[in-house]
């Protein structure tokens, strides 16, 4: 009888193991770091070092140049280092100390002698704001700097008609050479120019590629994608428009990732304004994208919604005017798709003024992947002169937002009278003029009681006038 217990235990364990192991446990990939999905450049509050990679500014040529602005929004001293990268490599690398509430302007073209130069700013903790202003005889262009480098970059817009210049500025901020593959998409389809496959971008340097050299001359649509097979880079795009449809100069940061939603707060149906969106689908699947007009309640024939088909690997242009019944005035847009990983959407806003046609190209804004939309947005650079519709705020909440604008000084942020009680209705869009002196040429903080998107327009210097649009920089929660 003494065999029975042992036999039962043995059989029971065998059976139990067989039963337990009938289902294979899910494979789990161990995680070293929770890599955040791409978001738009943001200001971190963490006491951790942050990098800012600026897409590049012109650094040689008459009337060309640029500067990088670093603002310290914290109550403590901000230490760090900036490096200027040019086509010949690193030009300068200096340590910096920024006092509380102070701002540092780096004149890039003074330290670099290169068609384009980019700046890398390393800050020893969060609370810094870095953005760049590119200067061209055809006008200034304000752009944010990225807080991450990436192995993937996308540009939905591109325009080389009428001898317009479209240049890709690839910055490699790392100590390792990067190797990238370029692809472009025109009306004739996607191409991967052979000479730009395995294209090297030397460590700590900038490489400039004229899109025309990729075989995309006189193209009304030239989307581009950059994939690094080794290392990571930062991609910027300089466009100098010379045609009848577009005018002026823009320097913008590319998108490091696709997204299923893209937000735009500045939209206007007015005489002399051409509002167009470029939707780039780099995936291998056709996409259906919903374009929703925000800030204007549906009424009558205006449904506020349009559907756009974006075939795989193609770019679709969508004019706001195509939305049936879209009323005159301001509006916002959101483009969304249910398909992952999504698309790339850029807005091309061309205003025709008394001095000519000025085009501004902007990538859409993003909610953070977890759905977070900031209440607080920084403007590292505000208009130097009185500006109409200097900031445009879209209230994403179903309740009214109370917005105030504060200016940063040595004593911290101070309220700007006249800009301290801006009401934004639920789902509404409101633009505010900057006429207060305390709001001009300062680092500003736009605080709302609800989650909002904030875009700004800054008057351009130059013969064409007009404004340059750029996103304010959200504060990461």
């Amino acid at each position: 009888m003494r065999r029975i217990p042992a036999l039962l235990i043995t059989l029971a364990v065998i059976v139990a193991l067989v039963v337990v192991t009938r289902t294979r446990p899910d494979d789990e990939v161990p995680v070293f770091a929770d890599v955040q999905q791409s978001w738009m450049p943001s200001v971190s509050q963490r006491p951790a070092p942050t990098n800012w990679f600026c897409p590049g500014v012109p650094a040689e040529g008459e009337g060309r140049g640029g500067e990088v602005v670093i603002a310290n929004t914290t109550a403590g001293v901000l230490r760090g280092r900036y490096s200027v990268l040019a086509e010949d490599g690193e030009q300068v690398s200096e340590r910096i100390i920024i006092e509380p509430g102070a701002r540092l302007d780096i004149d890039v073209d003074e330290t670099a002698d290169s068609a384009y130069a980019s700046v890398v700013v390393e800050l020893d903790h969060g609370g810094g704001i870095v953005e760049q202003r590119a200067v061209d005889p055809d006008g200034d262009s304000l752009a944010g700097c990225s807080t991450t480098a990436s192995a993937q970059w996308y540009l939905a817009d591109g325009f080389t008609e009428d001898d317009s210049v479209n240049e890709l500025v690839l910055s490699n901020p790392y100590d390792t050479d990067a190797v990238v593959n370029l692809g472009i998409v025109t009306d004739e389809g996607a191409r991967t120019p052979g000479e730009y496959q395995g294209f090297p971008v030397r460590a700590r340097s900038v490489a400039v590629i004229d899109v025309a050299d990729l075989g995309a001359q006189s193209e009304p649509i030239v989307a581009a994608s950059v994939t690094a097979s080794r290392g990571r880079v930062v991609l910027g795009r300089a466009q100098q428009f010379a045609g009848r449809e577009r005018g002026g100069f823009t320097m913008t940061l590319a998108a490091p990732a696709m997204s299923d939603q893209w937000w735009f707060t500045i939209g206007e149906r007015t005489e002399g304004v051409i509002e167009e969106y470029r939707l780039f689908n780099p995936t291998e699947s056709d996409l259906e994208v919903a374009a929703a007009v925000l800030g204007v309640p549906p009424s009558g024939a205006f449904s506020g919604l349009a559907t756009i088909d974006v075939p795989a690997g193609e770019v679709t242009a969508f004019a706001a005017g195509e939305v049936e019944g879209l009323p005159e005035g301001q509006h916002a847009f959101v483009f969304s798709t249910v398909e992952q990983p999504g698309i790339i959407v850029e807005r091309v806003l061309t205003r025709t003024g008394s001095r000519g046609r000025a085009t501004s190209v902007s990538l859409g804004g993003l909610a953070r992947p977890d759905g977070f939309v900031a209440n607080n947005w920084y403007l590292g650079t505000s208009p130097l002169e009185e500006t109409t519709d200097a900031i445009t705020i879209y209230n994403t909440a179903n309740s009214e937002a109370m917005v105030e604008v504060r200016t940063l000084g040595p004593g911290g942020f101070a309220i700007v009278r006249g800009l301290d009680r801006i009401r934004v209705p639920p789902g509404g869009v409101v633009s505010t003029d900057f006429i207060q002196e305390r709001a001009l040429g300062r680092t500003l903080l736009v605080s709302a009681t609800t989650p909002v998107f904030v875009e700004r327009q800054i008057p351009r210097d130059g013969p064409l006038g007009g404004t340059s649009t750029a996103w304010a920089i959200p504060l990461d929660a």
């Binding site: 003494r2 065999r3 217990p5 042992a6 036999l7 235990i9 043995t10 059989l11 364990v13 065998i14 193991l17 067989v18 337990v20 192991t21 294979r24 446990p25 899910d26 494979d27 789990e28 990939v29 161990p30 995680v31 070293f32 770091a33 929770d34 890599v35 955040q36 963490r46 951790a48 070092p49 942050t50 990098n51 230490r79 760090g80 280092r81 340590r95 890398v120 390393e122 020893d124 991450t148 480098a149 901020p173 790392y174 100590d175 390792t176 460590a203 080794r230 290392g231 990571r232």
Partner: protein, 1095 residues
């Protein structure tokens, strides 16, 4: 008609008497009762100064043999010298001397039989069959064989029952002096016994010289004599071991032919040395030590020995080769040892018997096959060395340096720490002695030897089964399970250590618990275990053995000690489950506990650093995903036909179903090992257990042993419980279970073919060796491995679940890197940096790691073993991205198997800091380090080692040593003073080198080991020695001396072992009588009775 007495040749029986016991009555009576008609008795009584004894003995003699002659000696000259007196006391050569001890009892016809055979065979000396005094059915001696080294080979085994198996008259080399009949003329010719040989070896010397003269020496079993043979009890004052060795050596030195003597001398030295070594492990060290003493003792006696040689040379009448033919070839001691292995002690319900084992060539053939399979399977390992895969990291080139590092108080692993170094370093260093300090060979031996040791251990466990087939099954199955090839393929040295240790542990544990080999003749009884009674001394010896096995295993892989503990607990529980006694279970538990304690104690002080984290593996991220079948078939690697190993589980179940009595008990123990450790392995594989666990190969070792024991049990059950029974379900089930065993070993046979156990062609260490620079121009550096713990070439510290890291220096990886130094502040700093990296809180991780000397960061992708290019393990999420994010880490051109990042901010391990870098080293913490200028660092003290003094030129600034801070690192400036150390960068060593410290001479750097460590190591070495002694059968010499000194009467018995001059003794002869003409007269009338006493 002549009387019978007048026809029979005269025999004078000489009995040397020394304070006999009550048995002497029987001795005298047996002498007096002899049926031989012409026998005279002479009693030579020693110790005549003790009148009481003399009176008692005389009384006994007179009661039984009133006509006997008695002669008294003062003191105790020993048997031989006393017996030699017969030459003086008896005149004439045409008779025989019957020389006897005082503790023999002759059968009535013994003398008659001896004389008859001596005549019949024309022999010179004849001896009877000696049987035990109290147990006449047990043989004691039927003559003795002798090898060329003077070692006696007792022809019969201890306790061998007299079944007339030796009852043929035969030539032997020696007959014991207890009772022998010798021709009187021969005895006189060869000079009787050698007077210098007392108590032991007198018969050997006598018979050897008899052979010289051409006389035959025979044993006559028809003549039977009972013999007490308890000299050691009667003379506890003598060192019998030494006497035996001394006289043995003396006989060889004086009686070996001149032409053979040089070679024999060399052989004696070699044999004695080998005996010393083997004696340590077999409990025969005292004998070996006695041999050594005797050997050395011959040297000062050379003149005397030469004189003796000249004297005995005259006796030689036959050539030396003829004499050699009479001696046993080889070593009797070895023959005796091997012969004892042919017998076995079987334990019954209430008896213990020793019987011949069933003889078979099968075990020999099986062993040859197993060894051939291991050698053939490892042929590439043997010819090219063991590849540096997994844990098979090569041994360092210099065993001396390894030992020096062991003795040092500094552990250089990782970022370095003042810490006890692993006992394994000393063990490896000592192991190299066996390979003549050839470390490559030692490495190969250490790997392949572990396999063979494991199989041998399984064979020893198998001895618990009395069936040859069962014993075969135990080690063949254990050697053939796919676990072996899997561990060799993936370089799992820890697993191999467990593989070697577990069977030995189980074997010794069952011996310690008294579980012996059950008597196979007790088939009908439900004997749960064959339980033998152990003495406390035996118990202690086995406990010491257990401790040694556990400690040795732990010296190389501490986790194995834990495993052994778990195995012991499972066996204890299984014993109760099988219906065994609680006492057995307790002994199993006690043995396990003692082994664990000794494992820790013998590995002191290193064992103080053991923690669960250092003993176990870093966790993998989620399940390993092998699945039940792979685990059950030991599928560590893709081995063909491994699935057939499933059949072994069938045999295990068969053992549970078919076994009875102790077969069932062992089947239950085997099943519990399989169930307990198999379940653990499966749950660990599925990631069900969140705790850190040993490697799966370690967990599977008890499973393998369980299956081996199961196979053995089913074989034994088939032999004893199934075969021969009435036909029923048991027969086919038994056949099926037997077939399952055969099927189960097929994977092991298949694995042999590869020759290299399917190890990958290239290993991570070799790839890195070609990838990372070895020039010293940039100074020393460290490499940080980061990634899946399974792919790191050295044991990983766990960072997060599934992510491990390890730091090594720029020397080629070797076995020292397998042991992790305890955590220090420097380790905490590194973890902080890695946390910052993981959290995205730094972009200059290289800068933060620079003070730690880390120049390269390696993220392994594949190792062609756990992770192949076809089926790679994923790189931990976000790892490469985080590293790529760092501005000062440059991805270099890496092999496909790994991503290698170079730290562009790296500082040399030993660096002279100047300017801002020197200032930065004063920082207490990590803050501000990112912005610091670390470029002003020049390499110094390249190759600095804690075991030696290194010198280099220094300038004013800061000397930085990228090891965890420790004041025992001493920097002496060129001008002489020892500089005060301080924390560098908060965690490392730094010295401010002022101008006045820079002299013309180079500065020196050294590590000053604490003297207390040396003392502690000596203590632990003493512990090892004590444990080794405890495993031997050596007795405490102090105890013997104490005993003698306390018992004065024992000493008074004799003359302290020295020979007493016979002339002197005879001067005190009280009898003074002569029987000169006894032999010639053939009568008793001539006996002189001068003192008027009647005997």
């Amino acid at each position: 008609m002549e009387s019978e007495a007048s026809i029979a040749p005269p025999v004078v029986a000489v009995v040397v008497v020394h304070d006999p016991g009550v048995w002497f009555d029987e001795t005298v009576a047996s002498m007096a009762a002899q049926d031989y008609p012409n026998l005279r008795l002479v009693f030579l009584i020693t110790g005549a100064e003790d009148e009481v004894v003399v009176a008692r003995v005389s009384d006994t003699i007179s009661r039984h043999a009133g006509d006997a002659f008695v002669t008294l000696f003062e003191g105790n000259p020993g048997y031989g010298p006393a017996a030699n007196e017969v030459q003086r006391l008896v005149e004439g050569d045409s008779g025989f001397f019957l020389l006897c001890h005082d503790d023999v009892a002759l059968d009535r016809d013994a003398v008659t039989r001896l004389v008859e055979e001596l005549y019949r065979s024309n022999a010179g000396i004849v001896g009877p069959k000696l049987v035990e005094w109290d147990r006449p059915a047990s043989l004691q001696h039927v003559g003795l064989s002798l090898d060329r080294f003077g070692e006696i080979d007792p022809i019969v085994e201890a306790d061998e029952v007299d079944q007339e198996q030796h009852d043929a008259v035969q030539d032997v080399f020696v007959v014991p002096s207890a009772c022998l009949l010798v021709r009187a003329d021969l005895f006189r010719t060869i000079g009787g016994f050698d007077a210098a040989v007392d108590y032991h070896g007198d018969d050997v010397d006598l018979c050897w010289r008899a052979h010289f003269s051409g006389a035959r020496v025979l044993v006559v079993p028809a003549a039977r004599v009972r013999h007490r043979e308890r000299l050691e009890e009667r003379r506890p004052d003598l060192n019998h071991r030494v006497l035996r060795a001394h006289h043995r050596m003396r006989s060889v030195a004086t009686l070996t032919g001149l032409s053979r003597l040089p070679l024999r001398s060399v052989e004696m030295v070699a044999l004695t040395l080998a005996e010393m070594v083997v004696g340590v492990f077999t409990g025969r060290f005292p004998e070996a030590w006695a041999s050594m003493r005797a050997l050395v003792g011959l040297i000062p006696r050379t003149p005397w020995l030469l004189a003796r040689r000249r004297a005995v040379a005259k006796l030689r009448t036959i050539p030396e080769p003829e004499l050699l033919d009479l001696q046993v070839r080889g070593s009797s001691r070895l023959s005796s040892y091997l012969r004892t292995r042919d017998t076995m002690t079987y334990v019954g319900a209430d008896s213990t018997v020793r019987r011949w084992r069933a003889t078979s060539t099968a075990p020999t053939l099986a062993w040859l096959a197993v060894i051939a399979a291991v050698v053939i399977g490892s042929r590439t390992f043997i010819s090219r060395g063991v590849p540096a895969i997994g844990e098979f990291l090569p041994f360092p080139e210099s065993p001396g340096a390894l030992m020096a590092q062991f003795r040092s108080g500094w552990n250089p692993d990782g970022l370095g720490a003042t810490s006890p170094n692993p006992t394994g370093w000393a063990a490896i260093s000592l192991l190299s002695v066996g390979t003549l300090f050839h470390m490559g060979l030692a490495h190969t031996v250490a790997v392949i030897g572990l396999v063979l040791a494991g199989i041998l251990g399984a064979a020893r466990v198998g001895t618990v089964f009395p069936s040859t087939r069962a014993r075969l099954a135990s080690f063949v199955v254990y050697g053939a399970v796919p676990l072996v090839s899997g561990m060799l393929a993936q370089g799992r040295w820890t697993g191999l250590v467990a593989y070697a240790a577990v069977p030995w542990f189980v074997h010794l544990l069952r011996r310690a618990a008294g579980i012996g080999t059950a008597d196979p003749r007790l088939v009908v009884l439900d004997l749960v275990d064959g339980l033998a009674r152990l003495t406390w001394r035996d118990r202690v010896r086995y406990f010491a053995y257990l401790g040694l096995v556990a400690a040795l295993a732990a010296a190389f892989a501490p986790v194995v000690a834990l495993l052994l503990g778990a195995v012991g607990v499972v066996l204890a529980v299984a014993t109760l489950l099988a219906g065994g006694s609680w006492r057995t279970s307790l002994w199993l538990s006690a043995g396990t506990l003692v082994a664990m304690i000794l494992a820790v104690g013998l590995n002191l002080p290193w064992s103080t650093t053991w923690t669960w984290d250092t003993l176990t593996l870093a966790r993998t991220g989620g399940p390993e995903g092998r699945g039940l079948v792979d685990i059950a078939t030991f599928g560590l690697s893709d081995q063909p036909l491994a699935v057939l190993a499933i059949a072994l589980y069938v045999s295990l179940l068969g053992a549970l179903v078919l076994g009875r009595a102790w077969r069932l008990t062992w089947a239950v123990r085997a099943a519990m090992l399989v169930v307990a450790f198999g379940s653990l392995a499966v749950l660990a594989d599925r990631g069900t257990l969140s705790m850190r666990l040993p490697d799966v190969s370690v967990l599977l070792v008890p499973v393998a042993l369980g299956l081996a024991l199961g196979a053995a049990a089913v074989m034994a059950a088939f032999d004893l419980d199934v075969r021969g029974g009435g036909f029923g379900w048991r027969q086919p089930a038994g056949v099926l279970a037997n077939v399952a065993v055969v099927v189960g070993v097929i994977p092991g046979l298949v694995a042999v073919g590869d020759g290299a156990w399917s190890t990958p062609d290239r290993s991570t260490p070799s790839l890195l060796g070609s990838q990372l620079p070895d020039e010293t121009t940039d100074g020393d550096y460290r490499v940080l491995f980061l990634g899946d713990p399974r792919l790191l070439p050295v044991p990983a510290q766990e960072l997060t679940e599934g992510v491990g890291y390890a730091v090594v220096d720029d020397d080629p990886l070797d076995v020292r890197d397998r042991w992790v130094a305890p955590d220090t502040d420097a380790d905490n700093r590194l973890r902080l940096v890695l946390d910052l990296l993981a959290d995205g809180d730094t972009l200059r991780a290289g800068q933060l790691m620079a003070p730690l000397g880390i120049r390269y960061i390696v993220v392994p992708r594949t190792d062609d073993s756990e992770s192949t290019s076809e089926d790679p393990l994923p790189v931990p999420g976000g790892l490469l991205e985080s590293l790529e994010d760092q501005l000062d880490l440059a991805l270099t051109f890496s092999p496909p198997s790994a991503e290698v990042f170079e730290n562009r901010s790296a500082m040399p391990t030993g660096a002279q800091l100047t300017g801002e870098t020197a200032e930065a080293s004063g920082a207490e913490n990590i803050n501000g380090l990112v912005g610091a200028d670390l470029t002003q660092a020049e390499p110094v003290f390249v190759g600095a080692d804690a075991t030696e003094i290194t010198s280099d030129d220094l300038t004013t600034g800061v000397m930085h040593l990228a090891t965890s801070f420790d004041e025992r690192w001493e920097l002496r400036g060129g001008s002489g003073p020892t500089l005060d150390p301080r924390n560098g960068f908060g965690v490392t060593n730094a010295w401010d080198v002022a101008g006045d410290a820079v002299g013309e001479r180079p500065a020196t750097l050294r590590y000053a080991t604490d003297t207390s460590r040396s003392v502690l190591l000596l203590v632990v070495a003493g512990l090892w020695l004590a444990t080794l002694l405890a495993t031997s059968r050596a007795r405490n010499p102090l105890r013997r001396r104490r005993h003698v000194s306390e018992d004065a009467t024992l000493i008074a018995l004799g003359s302290d072992g020295d020979n007493v001059a016979l002339d002197e003794l005879l001067a005190h002869e009280t009898h003074g009588g002569w029987i000169d003409d006894v032999l010639d007269e053939r009568g008793d009338e001539t006996v002189d009775q001068r003192d008027g006493r009647t005997f």
